[in-house]
């Protein structure tokens, strides 16, 4: 049945399942997506069975535009904006296992204005109005940056309204305008002016409490929690252990409680990755200007894992809905995505 060439529009693999990706300003959303795209390069070289690609869906464009494999070079925006991407896992081998594992996903990135978001944490009704799309999403990718009161930052973040550019730029606002302009330096001025302050531990906790209250116990959601910028802190070990150290016991307990209602997985990521200099490992990231030290040695760590995990949850559910006689064999033949890397 699956031996025919794969056509993503002809079967359940093309079902439009949206993934809502959200994080406060300066948490590293754009970097995560760009780094995911970069990591796909690596997996495409290693895996002869599939080719993975990510494209941007732009209004008025019939065909998705492949996303360039470059780090983001743009400034945060003060406005609310959504961006649409499409991920495709294309089978390069024509057997049933590869055919059923070749699927497509749409991803919506919600870019919000950081200051307004903090206001939205005041009560549940304001929260639900602000985060309507997020609360209604079945699949959620949450991006948690380094809290402003975290104790392990290698490069502490200066206070708000600083004049020097700093930290990972965080939205796609200037993406289109910038395609013909040059690089980073031209962006640094606006970057410094628009940078938002990082959220504190208590703000992250409040956000998560309101999110879970709004999600309710049903339906069961897929929730990938990404701890970004991990190259800028010294924590190593199990993801839940790192979460506890970054955000405290209360957030850890909150996730543990809600694991009985939702599928929740925590990922530790570094979009910038590391480089070795003089025998020492150091972040491939310049805190002074928010750029990579060496773009040629850009090797993000674990940024694909949260996306892969959500894709796999969705795909296994899709296969479960297939023709009843084939459900068992579909699940058995399904080829999982590469696993999360250790941090």
């Amino acid at each position: 049945m699956f031996a025919k060439p794969h056509d993503p529009t002809s079967d359940f693999s093309s079902e439009q399942t949206h993934i809502a990706l959200w994080g406060p300003s300066n948490a590293g959303k754009d970097w995560l997506v760009s780094a995911f795209n970069k990591e796909l390069d690596y997996y495409n070289r290693m895996d002869q069975g599939f080719h993975c690609e990510i494209c941007e869906l732009q209004p008025g464009e019939a065909n998705p535009i492949p996303l360039a494999v470059t780090p983001p070079r743009r400034a945060p925006t003060p406005n609310f904006e959504d961006y649409n991407f499409q991920f495709r896992r294309i089978a390069l081998v024509r057997d049933s296992a590869h055919q059923i594992s070749a699927q497509t996903h749409d991803i919506i990135i919600h870019n919000d204005k950081g200051a307004n978001l903090i206001d939205s944490l005041s009560d549940r009704i304001t929260f639900e109005n602000t985060f309507q799309t997020l609360v209604n999403a079945q699949n959620i990718l949450l991006i948690l940056g380094i809290p402003s009161d975290g104790s392990a930052m290698l490069f502490p973040t200066p206070p708000q309204n600083i004049s020097t550019p700093l930290a990972e730029p965080d939205d796609f606002a200037l993406a289109r305008n910038e395609q013909d302009s040059s690089p980073a330096e031209s962006q640094l001025g606006s970057f410094s002016q628009t940078r938002q302050a990082d959220w504190s531990r208590s703000e992250y906790l409040k956000f998560m409490q309101l999110l879970f209250a709004s999600l309710g116990p049903t339906p069961r959601r897929n929730l990938a929690v990404c701890l970004t910028k991990s190259d800028q802190v010294n924590y190593r070990g199990e993801p839940m252990q790192i979460l506890q150290r970054r955000y405290g016991d209360a957030l850890l307990r909150l996730l543990e409680v809600h694991r009985q209602y939702h599928k929740i997985e925590v990922f530790v990521t570094s979009a910038a990755g590391y480089i070795r200099q003089e025998g020492r490992l150091m972040p491939n990231f310049q805190s002074q200007n928010g750029l990579l030290h060496d773009e040629r040695r850009w090797a993000p760590v674990n940024t694909a894992a949260p996306f892969f995990w959500i894709f796999e949850q969705i795909e296994r559910e899709r296969l479960q809905k297939g023709f009843v006689l084939f459900r068992g064999s579909n699940q058995k033949n399904y080829i999982p995505y590469p696993k999360s890397q250790s941090f």
Binding site: A152, Q241, Q244, A250, L281, V301, S342, F343
Partner: protein, 319 residues
């Protein structure tokens, strides 16, 4: 391939190093690596090796002793290291005694580690991480004791005296808070090693508990003995510098390249103690129906880790 390549590893071993600011936490860790290099030169039975992994990279890279010359940034630091005791003799006893330990070592920032005992909400993450650790190394710095020199005849050098000092009561209070914090989370077989640092700057030559009593007072000993009903508590003394390094470091002519004078003493002791506890337990727990267990008495065969009599080592160094 698993994270450790071809090495079969034990479960992750969380070791947390706690101590007041500038008590020598980072120096202790790197002195452990340095001392292993020195031990390997004279240890006929085993070769002790340490590897590390980097985030997202499964390759094992040998860890080289790297003196932490830059002052600590006061931030939490994690290290993912693998320790292996590789046999150099091909007999049953040495093979029985061969283990790999998957160490997750955390250095608690000194100031925050102490503040976390007194400000329960602000530093809750640090306190909680400390409380969940099964293996704790608590460093006690005798050069910070304000009155030891007068009371016990301890000589503290001029450099150490310039820094902030604590008296015995203050030290006692902090250690009590540390033990209370550890007691908040029940962990089976928790080991706490109290390590008296900077022994190259102290003139007393006593062993472990007696040394603790002379430096930190009888009440400190009583406190630790009291908590022995909850944790396995041991006392060690060590010097990260050894006999000569301090002199070289304070010399303006020191060019930073001659590290042969870096000769730590007994920094390996708490680590070896932890490894030995884990290994003996693992051997004990192996099935009695295992054939090799039945034929060979593995527990008797086990080769313990070497121990340093640091008092005599110092005596030799000072000759």
């Amino acid at each position: 391939m698993n994270r450790a390549g071809n090495l079969s590893t034990s479960a992750e071993m969380n070791i947390t190093i706690w101590g007041p600011p500038q008590s020598g936490k980072q120096w202790m860790l790197w002195s452990f690596v340095r001392e292993l290099e020195l031990i390997n030169q004279i240890y006929p039975d085993f070769r002790c090796e340490i590897f590390e992994t980097y985030p997202g990279d499964d390759q094992l890279t040998p860890v080289r002793a790297d003196p932490p010359l830059k002052p600590s940034v006061g931030k939490w630091r994690d290290f993912m290291w693998f320790f292996r005791r590789r046999p150099l003799k091909d007999d049953q006893a040495h093979h029985v005694s061969t283990f790999v330990h998957n160490m997750h070592i955390s250095i608690v920032p000194g100031e925050e580690g102490i503040k976390s005992f007194f400000n329960l909400t602000e530093h809750e993450a640090v306190r909680s991480a400390l409380a969940r650790s099964r293996f704790v190394i608590a460093i006690l710095d005798p050069t910070r004791l304000s009155s030891t020199g007068n009371k016990n005849g301890v000589e503290i050098d001029a450099i150490a005296m310039k820094k902030t000092t604590w008296n015995q009561e203050e030290y006692l209070k902090v250690v009590e808070r540390l033990l209370e914090t550890l007691a908040t989370v029940r962990i089976q077989n928790r080991h706490v090693a109290f390590c008296i640092s900077k022994m190259d700057q102290i003139a007393i030559r006593e062993m472990d508990w007696l040394l603790l009593e002379r430096l930190f007072g009888e009440q400190m000993v009583n406190l630790l003995k009291y908590y022995q009903s909850q944790f396995a508590i041991d006392v060690f003394a060590f010097s990260s510098f050894g006999g000569q390094l301090k002199e070289y470091l304070s010399d303006d002519a020191f060019d930073g390249n001659n590290w042969t004078v870096w000769n730590p003493i007994n920094a390996v002791a708490p680590f070896f103690h932890f490894f030995q506890e884990i290994e003996r337990t693992a051997i004990r727990q192996q099935s009695p129906f295992n054939v090799s267990n039945f034929i060979f008495n593995r527990q008797k065969m086990y080769v313990p880790y070497p121990k340093t009599n640091w008092t005599s080592t110092f005596a030799k160094e000072n000759i």
